[in-house]
Point group: C2
Chain length 225, copies 2
């Protein structure tokens, strides 16, 4: 039987690149998407398209919790989405403990489905302000997961692969283009409207990444600043 990988798939550029990398590494793909009332709810629809592109089963998990606790510009509509370029310190778009929660749920799914690895598309380069995108967190999380689960107590270790953690956006895009990842199906905009806004930090980062990689972003934008 082919070895299995759970891929945390947001429908964005990074997680879609992880689909390509996990496939290249020989894994059967088990993409897992979290619906959590984020402004970029549109990402869930994009994730479905990406999963369909790879022809694999797709698990969407509804976690309304973030909306209830608030505290981030991405889940709390009272906090404005920043347009002003990268902020100092931890950005207002930081969702409390997001990757901690995503990886915990992914670990439960991996254990139930017999997957041996979880792919997550975090990068410590472009969003260094998010504490849960750093290698120190990923390493600690892998250890904690193995202490928490049946797998860790039967000699099988569950691994976390964060293949983009040291890559810039441009390097990620180069990898994705090499693997013919379906970037035309992805979105990155924080606003989650029909057309990507081209103004929010996430759109800016994506557009700059394509420019730096010397490639054309295949999705349309409302404007490009």
């Amino acid at each position: 039987m082919k070895k299995r990988a759970v891929v945390v798939l947001s429908g964005g550029l990074d997680s879609t690149t992880c689909m390509g990398l996990a496939q290249e590494a020989g894994y059967a793909l088990l993409p897992l998407t979290f619906a959590y009332g984020q402004r970029h709810g549109r990402e869930v629809a994009q994730a479905r398209k990406v999963a369909r592109h790879y022809g694999v089963e797709h698990q969407v998990v509804d976690i309304g919790f973030f909306g209830q606790i608030g505290g981030s510009a991405l889940t709390d509509t009272a906090i404005p989405v920043p347009d002003s370029g990268q902020e100092e310190g931890i950005p207002s778009t930081y969702v409390p403990a997001r990757n901690l929660i995503f990886l915990s749920l992914a670990a439960a799914y991996a254990e139930t489905r017999g997957a041996e690895v979880i792919y997550i598309g975090v990068s410590a380069v472009d969003f260094s302000g998010y504490p849960d995108c750093r290698p120190a967190f990923i390493e600690s999380m892998e250890e904690t997961i193995n202490r928490a689960t049946r797998a860790g107590h039967t000699g099988t270790r569950l691994r976390i692969e964060a293949p983009l953690v040291h890559l810039s956006k441009a390097d990620t895009i180069r990898e994705g283009l090499r693997l013919q990842v379906p970037y035309h199906l992805t979105t990155s905009c924080y606003r989650g409207e029909e057309l990507a806004c081209g103004r929010c930090d996430s759109c800016r980062l994506r557009l700059k990444g394509f420019a730096d990689a010397g490639a054309e972003d295949p999705i349309p934008y409302r404007e490009r600043v």
Copy 2:
């Protein structure tokens, strides 16, 4: 302002004892309950009563995820609830990565509400078969949480208190009785019917705990074996 503690409150005996211990330690209580389609869904109603008893705000979080992934006698109705006393190894009632998920969500809530500690009523004594009830997991989780969150990066550490981790059920009950914890509002039965069954492993453990503590369990049972 009074310091705040998030208490993971299932409506069972152990977590309710944690309410008493956190109150005694001087914290303002922020009980947090997870509704996850478990057979003991009745526990959520009990948790509400316990929170009301303490006169505090109560957050119930709906996480249907466990039902979707299955793999445990507590969430998957195809797996029978064991009546035969303690099993060897990891029990069939183990829910994949449950405390990993609960503590991740509790960390997000604690961060948003400015709490400095999370209380969780795990015990490594009576359910030593559950890997996520052991001190080695709790310690690793605390470290991971602090690497994941804003709190951990601003010099404030979020702590996990597991005050029952080395206590037997009888010792827990002695603590609870000393603190006048409302055990009459709690339930422990895995079956979640109107009357506690008195037969499942959880009922047996509770009844034995009260007997060993030389006290009377204030809740009614269908039968006592």
